[in-house]
């Protein structure tokens, strides 16, 4: 939750954000999304007009608190389903392309 409030850019950096979100976009998508989302971002600036000074945020819609579970072990028997759902599975491991930065 980076602290300082930046001057609100009227443009969204679609390429940067898409990379953060791990979405490869085609040049066409980039162009279209840029146009559509710039419009949306301009619209949501209506939030700046809302009288929210001194209000606490509501990340949740209600006032729940303290929902815990006991430290008890349950049975898990979904091994077969887990293996069947995996796009690549070998020797009980999920196989992925080589992770480079672990060398």
């Amino acid at each position: 939750m980076p602290g300082k409030e930046k001057e609100l850019a009227s443009k969204i950096d679609v390429a940067y954000v898409a990379e953060l979100a791990r979405l490869e976009l085609t040049p066409d998508e980039k162009k279209t999304f840029q146009r559509q989302l710039d419009e949306v971002v301009r619209y949501v600036r209506v939030l700046e007009e809302a009288p929210v000074e001194g209000l606490s945020p509501s990340p949740y819609p209600g006032d729940l608190s303290n929902v815990f579970r006991e430290d008890a072990v349950g049975t898990t028997d979904i091994q077969e389903a887990v293996a069947a759902n995996a796009p690549r599975w070998q020797n009980s491991l999920f196989i992925v392309p080589p992770i480079m930065d672990q060398s």
Binding site: M1, A72, P98, I99
Partner: protein
């Protein structure tokens, strides 16, 4: 290192002692077949939700209380967003701006100097999976994913590799005392990220550039990595170079730090409150109850051992380093053993066995009551020391009672005057030449003769009594 100030900060991830994971009921057992301790929740399957393990919250608060932290009655969980194959949801549930504990400190002692390492915070988060690398692909095991970790973050108060090591040893002792973690390093229960910077001591107030060494899983690794990294940074600065802010990895075999491939962009974790998890609100009474049930901490116990049992500082320090060992010692004393004798036995024999076997005290078949009885046998002169050590060996094997072992194996010490007299007579008759040497002034020959008496009695003779009778016979 002369002429440089070193600033080190540690982020220590400690696995909490829970039966089940932080957000689901999968077991936390170590060493199972990959991807068996998993369920839809910890695999991040669509539609699943986390529910917080109360025990994990309690253990984190207990740690905070032991370390003198401020316990925040209101805390919450946040999502830390980044993609990585060992992350089931590609966000980690952690705590960002409202951790469970803030502040606190750990006291360390290096070369006789006591120092407080201040803590910044302690928060609760879930572990990720483990990846294996096969060259052309990698494999991921999610057994660890969702295991509760408490992250203990220090201020950059540590100024040497030795202090970092001392901090970890002291922290481990406290965590074991509080029974909040097994601190089993082999099982990866304690892992560290280390921040380190050096600065020339020339009056400039500018801080040095930090490097971060990730994922060190032994205390020795932390020590060696820091030794290396501090020296490396100083070398770079001495040559007029600059330190690059980077993330490093410690290559234990080569004994060097290695830069991790830098990402194309800075990390932007996009923390925000996890809407699936309601805030954690602790009642003051709840926290007070936990405070009241805190165990005595090692530093305090050490002082008490010195005062109550009259132990030397060294002994007290060795005994309290591990809670189980200190408990074992105290129970042995409670069973009637003299404190110094008990301390000697625990420090030499018990710790030797633990060191050699790698077992925990609680895994030994030897019970404190039995050790106390063995010590009593020695004190009463029923067995001599070599025999006692032999009996100790049998007790470790069988868990048996010392008196019974002595009786069954005929190991009781012979102090009986008549019996010893007879043996001495036989030994003197069979060693006429040695007797003559002794009488001719070669007093050292006595030791040989005592040895012969011991041999005849298969070690059971009370050596003091045997020496006295021999001397009487030789000189009388």
């Amino acid at each position: 290192m002369q002429g440089y100030d070193v600033s080190i900060g540690l982020e220590t991830h400690v696995q909490l002692k829970t039966r089940s994971k932080l957000f689901c009921s999968c077991p936390t057992r170590f060493g199972e077949e990959p991807n068996t301790n998993v369920c839809p929740v910890c695999l991040g399957y669509p539609g699943t939700l986390p529910v917080v393990n109360y025990q994990a919250v309690r253990l984190t608060v207990v740690t905070g209380l032991m370390l003198g932290c401020r316990v925040n009655l209101h805390s919450k969980f946040d999502r830390k967003n980044y993609f990585y194959p060992d992350m089931p949801k590609n966000y980690q549930i952690s705590q960002y701006d409202q951790p469970i504990c803030t502040g606190g400190s750990v006291e360390i002692e290096v070369e006789g100097k006591v120092k407080r390492i201040r803590l910044r915070r302690i928060h609760l988060e879930e572990d990720v999976g483990k990846s294996f690398h096969f060259g052309r692909s990698s494999g991921v095991d999610f057994n660890r994913a969702g295991i509760p970790l408490m992250e203990i973050v220090t201020e950059p108060d540590i100024s040497s590799a030795d202090e970092a090591h001392a901090y970890l040893v002291a922290l481990k002792a406290i965590l074991e005392y509080g029974e909040v973690s097994d601190c089993n390093l082999e099982e990866g229960n304690v892992r560290c990220d280390v921040n380190c910077s050096v600065r020339k001591r020339d009056g400039s107030r500018e801080l040095g550039t930090k490097t971060e060494i990730k994922n060190l899983n032994t205390f020795r690794g932390v020590y060696r990595a820091l030794k290396y990294e501090i020296a490396r940074q100083i070398r770079v600065l001495e040559r007029g170079g600059t330190i690059q802010q980077q993330t490093l990895r410690w290559d234990d075999e080569k004994g060097v730090t290695v830069a991790l491939r830098s990402k194309e962009y800075a990390h932007d974790y996009r923390y925000f409150p996890d809407p699936d998890i309601p805030p954690v609100v602790l009642r003051p009474e709840e926290v007070e109850a936990w405070r009241e049930s805190l165990p005595e901490l090692p530093s305090r116990r050490k002082r008490r051992f010195q005062e109550q049992y009259g132990l030397p500082e060294y002994d007290a320090g060795v005994l309290v380093a591990e809670r189980e060992v200190a408990d074992f010692f105290e129970r042995t004393v409670a069973e009637g053993a003299p404190p110094k004798a008990a301390s000697n036995w625990v420090m030499t024999e018990v710790l030797r066995v633990i060191g050699e076997s790698g077992k925990r005290v609680s895994d030994l078949r030897l019970r404190p009551e039995a050790l106390a009885r063995l010590i009593s046998l020695v004190e009463r002169g029923m067995v001599n020391m070599p025999t006692a050590k032999e009996v100790f060996g049998v007790m470790l094997e069988t868990g048996g009672d010392p008196e019974r072992i002595v009786r069954e194996r005929g190991l009781a010490q012979v102090s009986d005057e008549g019996e010893l007299m007879e043996v001495v007579g036989r030994v003197l008759a069979a060693n006429q030449k040695v007797v003559a040497d002794y009488r001719a002034g070669k007093k050292a020959a006595l030791q040989f003769l005592i040895g012969q008496v011991m041999r005849e009695t298969r070690g059971k003779a009370n050596p003091k009594a045997a020496a006295r009778i021999l001397r009487e016979q030789l000189e009388g």
